[in-house]
Amino acid sequence: MKKIYAVILFFVWGLSSTCAAYELIGTEVLSKELTARHYTINPNLDAVIVVDRTIPTFEYHTYYSAGSADEEEGKQGRIHFLEHLISGTGSHDEIVSKNGGQKSAATSYHVTRFILRFPKDKFDLAVEIDSERYYSTVINEEVVEMEKKIVLTERSRRLANLTSRFVYSFSSLIYGKKNFISLGTEDFIKQLEPVGLKAYHENFLRRQKRLIVIIGDVDVGYVLTKLDVAYGNEQTPGALSSPQISKPRVLGKKFTITSRGLSVAKFRKSWYTPSLGHRDYAGLLILARILNKSSNSLRSYIVDSGLAKVFSIGLNHYRGFSLMTCAADLPHSTSSDAAHAIIRIELEKIKSISKDELNAACNEQLQSMYSAFYNRSSMASSFGQAFAHTNDPMLYPQLIKDIGSVSPEDIRRIIDQYMADDNSITLSLRLRQDTKTSK
């Protein structure tokens, strides 16, 4: 009799295995201990799983491929508002807390993410919460009115920061919007209603491609089975293709805004460069590292000479492009032209970079990227951003391999090809000198 049961069970298992919708589409070895596995769960949902048994907990992140920069002009703020509603759906706060979990959520330019973190034996609960949020988000008069108060307070807090306001002004130029503000205008938030939000959730956000990233002490087979049960047979309308961002029309231009009462001037210059996945992205990352070194670099020169009080350079990818950005706090005595001139001189100097200097920068970059392996949340976020910006989360670990293949010739070519003034946008915030004529 036992043998018969065993045979039946074997066939049932075999049948269920073959019916599972998920499929392994790639693996990447991150280090001797960590490997990333990429699956499709259904046509609209992918998953990345990294087993890390350092402590008996796991991260469960859900990424939607849409964020505030993907919203229409004048209607920004709905995704962020929905992020609040989705995250607060049901009595999850209490359930998460009582089960030793943690949760948070965030909306950025092209990605909206929901984070859960639990002890290892709570995986079923994580999937339950995630699927309840996805299928049954509560959007009614009561929660919308309450959340308006909180979002307006968050907005007020955000706008109290000068740097945040300056970055919004810069984003308006990049995305061609008159008034870029991720959280929306006060008037727009106040007039939001449940019906409109429900429709937006249903017809826009839920139709974006999603990625679930799980990193921690989990069993891969069990995770896949649970995700398959929750989402494998999901019947939803086809995914919307992610809105493409057109090249900024203002490339090559310099803008200045003025304000009273500034203790420092602000300066931001970005070069428009290819996104993650392009063959030059690793070279751009190395270039940023070289420019940002502690000594003998653009940053050290400009800060040590007193031309800037604070200066940093970074490369960030977005959907379809990346931006190499210099951000500075300048004393009022430093003109933007002086900053431009030094940047140009230092870029020319780097063209004669030696093989050893390049190796050093590659090692520093690797050191920085490997450090993220100690932080599961940061690693999950890198997969999520790669997915939202390129549709391929595995471009993040592949980038680590690409770092070693960059040559001095690549750096020279990248500077000539991308780091030209006519491929950049500059925004300065200066002290208003003449209150009668300036606006």
């Binding site: 201990e33 350092t54 706060d93 089960n99 949760k103 307070t153 000594s295």
Partner: protein
């Protein structure tokens, strides 16, 4: 005291569940193995050489010396040599110790440590070095006023009410002499109480071997570590520090001094966790979710110099600020009689049993072990379970009272003054400019 510190280190090695230990004469290694990334991070900690050694006429001495080490590393080519091996080098100053940090790919770490050993053993300072570093620190202090303003405001308020030293003073910085610097450095490099804090994918024996260039040839003598305790039963409030700003929010802090670094913190940590352990804590639940008066309230046990204090924070919009400030102040003072607090506390005791697993990462457990060794804090038998409600009540009745409350506000000063006049007429109000905190 010296023996006591050594004994506490030894005890830590014996009881530390995850710790490994390699013997180097006169030196100690706090170590965790983490094989997730091919990295080694070494902190060289000079215990006893912290800011608390500064005389009141020499505020900033410890930090100046540490900045000079960093600057010398940069100007004399050490930073370039470190960069060539892909290592990151940093220096930092704390109340009771100074740290030099090196983070590198493990394969290059030996070379990086040799370079740092060479730096420490052969460093000399000139008047020119001091002049340059004073210039840099002046800029850093001024930047801190803008960029770390919240911390600066709180430290200033505590220095004015609790008698702790200011961390930054442009006046004393200006008066530091080269002789001061040399004396301090001579004492520092000879100090007996040096230890290493290491996270690496290498085993502990390999790590100990790597560190020998630093430990060989060091003299003994110098500082003896001691924890200078202040009296904390002085009357500090109610006092309010108001920093004027034309923003549309009122950033509000309530600071409640509760003791000195090194004292046991199970009771305040439990209270803080009940109030803001997560989104389900009593403060976010009541002030954010139910009243909608604040976006990101927080409640933490923090330290500033030798003082430990409770910090409660809320960020109401201007039009909600009176309601928030009044309700929060009453909430704090009436906590011992608030039935919701006792319910939250009971619930939190259960949650802590399952949520503590998140704090067991190698990095966090290493930090805890080092903290316990430095501050000579003992583990309480039974942990949070052993904290009784009576202890909690007596703690609240002692510290959560008007006389022990320091408030710090940033926002429109007239609005804040009106609120204080109405609801806190007994508070001593100080209107401050942010610039005054570094004078």
């Amino acid at each position: 005291m010296f023996l006591k510190v050594m004994l506490s280190f030894t005890l830590c090695y014996v009881v530390g569940v995850l710790s490994a230990f390699a013997e180097i004469p006169n030196h100690h290694i706090f170590y965790r193995n983490d094989t997730r990334a091919p990295l080694t991070k070494v902190d060289i900690v000079f215990l006893g050489a912290g800011r608390n050694q500064d005389q009141s006429s020499q505020i900033g001495l410890a930090r100046t010396v540490w900045r000079m080490i960093w600057d010398a590393a940069k100007r004399r080519g050490y930073m370039d040599r470190l960069s060539a091996s892909g290592a990151r080098f940093n220096t930092s100053t704390s109340t009771y110790y100074q740290t030099i940090s090196i983070s590198a790919l493990s394969r290059n770490c030996g070379e990086s440590i040799k370079i740092v050993a060479d730096l420490i053993q052969n460093l000399e300072f000139s008047d020119l070095d001091l002049k340059e570093v004073k210039k840099q620190l002046t800029t850093i202090y001024q930047n801190d006023v803008r960029r770390n303003a919240s911390m600066m405001r709180k430290t200033f308020a505590l220095s004015q009410t609790m008698g702790i030293k200011k961390q930054r003073s442009l006046k004393t910085l200006k008066n530091l002499s080269l002789e001061d610097i040399r004396q301090y450095y001579d004492q520092l490099v000879k100090t007996d109480v040096v230890f290493f804090k290491v996270i690496s994918d290498l085993d502990s024996t390999e790590v100990a071997k790597l560190l020998r260039p630093i430990t060989e040839g060091r003299d003994t003598g110098g500082f003896v570590h001691s924890l200078a305790h202040l009296k904390t039963d002085t009357k500090v409030g109610p006092a309010a520090f108001v920093f004027n700003s034309s923003i549309k929010s009122v950033f509000s802090h309530w600071l409640i001094p509760i003791g000195n670094l090194g004292e046991e913190t199970y009771v305040p940590a439990l209270i803080s966790s009940a109030l803001r352990g997560d989104i389900h804590g009593l403060i976010p639940k009541y002030f954010r979710e139910e009243l909608g008066l604040t976006y990101s309230p927080s409640c933490r046990v923090r330290a500033s110099e030798e003082i430990i204090y409770f910090e409660i924070y809320a960020d109401p919009q201007l039009h909600n600020s009176e309601e928030l400030i009044q309700k929060m102040s009453d909430f704090i003072r009436e906590l011992p009689d608030n039935p919701r607090f006792w319910e939250a506390l009971k619930e939190r005791r259960e949650i802590l049993k399952v949520s503590d697993v998140h704090n067991q990462t190698p990095q966090r457990s290493l930090n805890r072990e080092v903290y316990r060794a430095i501050y000579n804090t003992s583990r309480r038998e039974g942990g949070y379970d052993s904290v009784t409600d009576e202890e909690v009540r007596s703690f609240l009745e002692k510290f959560f009272v008007s006389d022990n409350m320091i408030m710090v506000f940033r926002g429109p000063k007239d609005n804040i003054r009106d609120i204080l006049n109405t609801h806190w007429p007994e508070a001593e109000v100080h209107e401050q400019s942010l610039r005054s905190v570094i004078e």
